[in-house]
Symmetry: C2
Subunit: 268 residues, 2 copies
């Protein structure tokens, strides 16, 4: 990577991201023509234990109820585990096994972008875990689990968040909404903190993250219900397909106007 990029493309950033999204749809169509998945990785075969038969049984859930559970669970197990708990907790009651054997609470570590490192927002990680466990990995029957997780991250990045307001919020004042343009915790939380002028330990920041968690749980449940009804048509994409490197499409957000070009294969 060349050095020297600048974080100065403030105005064009959104536009680039949105245009890149359109490109990515084309890339997804290309991907659908291949063996279903990341074309830079070879097709793999499944083996596995008794819970590695997909899809896992699923019954439609109420998105609003799921979001309320996720909101409240945030205050117990934080973003990633709260999303998992909101869906798998209900499925434990409705269906039982195999959901009863999944260690939901172990995923508390997704908080703060994995142990406070600010990488992927835990609510995105939790949503991907759910969609890929229920629908299965792309090496099994369908790539829809991966594509649904990717769709959640795209939606998360483009949406003024949080979109969900709980029925009994712990913070009564309005919570500002911000667009992260990123699935990463550091950028999502940082942009909100700047807009709200609230610190990381503030009750408002915590409630914002609880509401983002609930928002993701709500939308994920909508998509899972569509999938259950056989009406799910994924908007998910594999960004690296059209980039030549794993990443998002809003390159200038970190690189500025001097976006480095990765080594490309002769066929591109």
């Amino acid at each position: 990577m060349r050095e020297g990029g600048m974080l100065t493309e403030k105005i064009s950033r959104r536009g680039l991201f949105r245009n890149a999204g359109k490109l990515a749809v084309g890339a997804a169509a290309m991907a659908a023509m291949t063996s279903g998945g990341l074309a830079f990785l070879s097709k793999a075969e499944a083996k596995g234990g008794p819970t590695e038969k997909w899809p896992w049984p699923y019954e439609k859930l109420d998105p609003g109820k799921t979001a309320e559970i996720a909101y409240n669970e945030w205050y117990r197990v934080f973003c990633g585990a709260a999303v998992i708990s909101s869906v798998f907790g209900q499925l434990r009651e409705k269906i039982g096994a195999p959901y009863t054997s999944f260690p939901i609470d172990a995923f508390v570590f997704l908080e703060g972008g994995i142990s406070g490192w600010g990488t992927v927002c835990g609510s995105n990680a939790g949503a991907n875990i759910i969609s890929n466990i229920i629908i299965g990995p792309r090496i099994a029957e369908s790539a829809d689990g991966m594509l649904m997780g990717s769709e959640i991250m795209q939606w998360y990045s483009e949406t003024a968040m949080p979109v969900f307001t709980p029925s009994e919020p712990k913070i009564k004042a309005a919570i500002p909404k911000t667009i992260s343009n990123s699935p990463l915790c550091h950028i999502s939380v940082g942009r909100w903190m700047k807009a709200a002028n609230k610190d990381l330990m503030s009750p408002e920041r915590k409630d914002r993250c609880a509401r983002v968690t609930a928002s993701v749980a709500y939308h994920l449940t909508e998509l899972l219900n569509q999938w259950k009804d056989n009406t799910y048509a994924t908007k998910g994409t594999i960004p690296s397909k059209s980039c030549g490197i794993t990443g998002q499409h809003n390159c200038t957000d970190c690189h500025g106007s001097n976006v480095p070009a990765p080594p490309l294969p002769k066929s591109l």
Copy 2:
């Protein structure tokens, strides 16, 4: 966040990261004096299903054998699921339940930094999943699972990778080693691609990632064995503790010399 940072701090980057590491050790000592975990989040209580009793049974594994398994599993399920498979696959045979009920292959989606988005490297995510499932979440008996996962990410970021060479490598030529200064796939893979001048779809890039996966599995097994022997003294830290925002300490890597200051609480 202010705009206008530049990616020009090439020389000082490593030094800052290392110095920040020292600061982080101090932060960890501070954290140990609190209720054990991310101080910006409140202490939570556990509830859960039958597999949510910690620690899970563990028997010491051979790091070299585990790394060989991870290397070969990369070519079946890729980085994140390969790390999980290398440890949990052996524990399924040695111990059985609860490892038999964990859907290892569902975690294929961790490839490419989660579905090709370039966020956290799947091998780091897989290592965190393992340490937090075996030792348990910080809301249970110990924060060591989270801290071990964090330690793996710090080691991954600072180490010339890959460190492990498989006994029967698929690529016979030497694979360049690079320091990522980041737990993120995009940065780790991108820096290696630049140094090696190899594209994302090249056999060399794939084998590099398989070896990184094996390297993480090797070191994780070393740490888990120490933990089993009651000799594990974590070097893991919670970076956000001393920053006021979730993230790493090498701020200039993306922000350049103009690092924005997050809103801070009055007590800091």
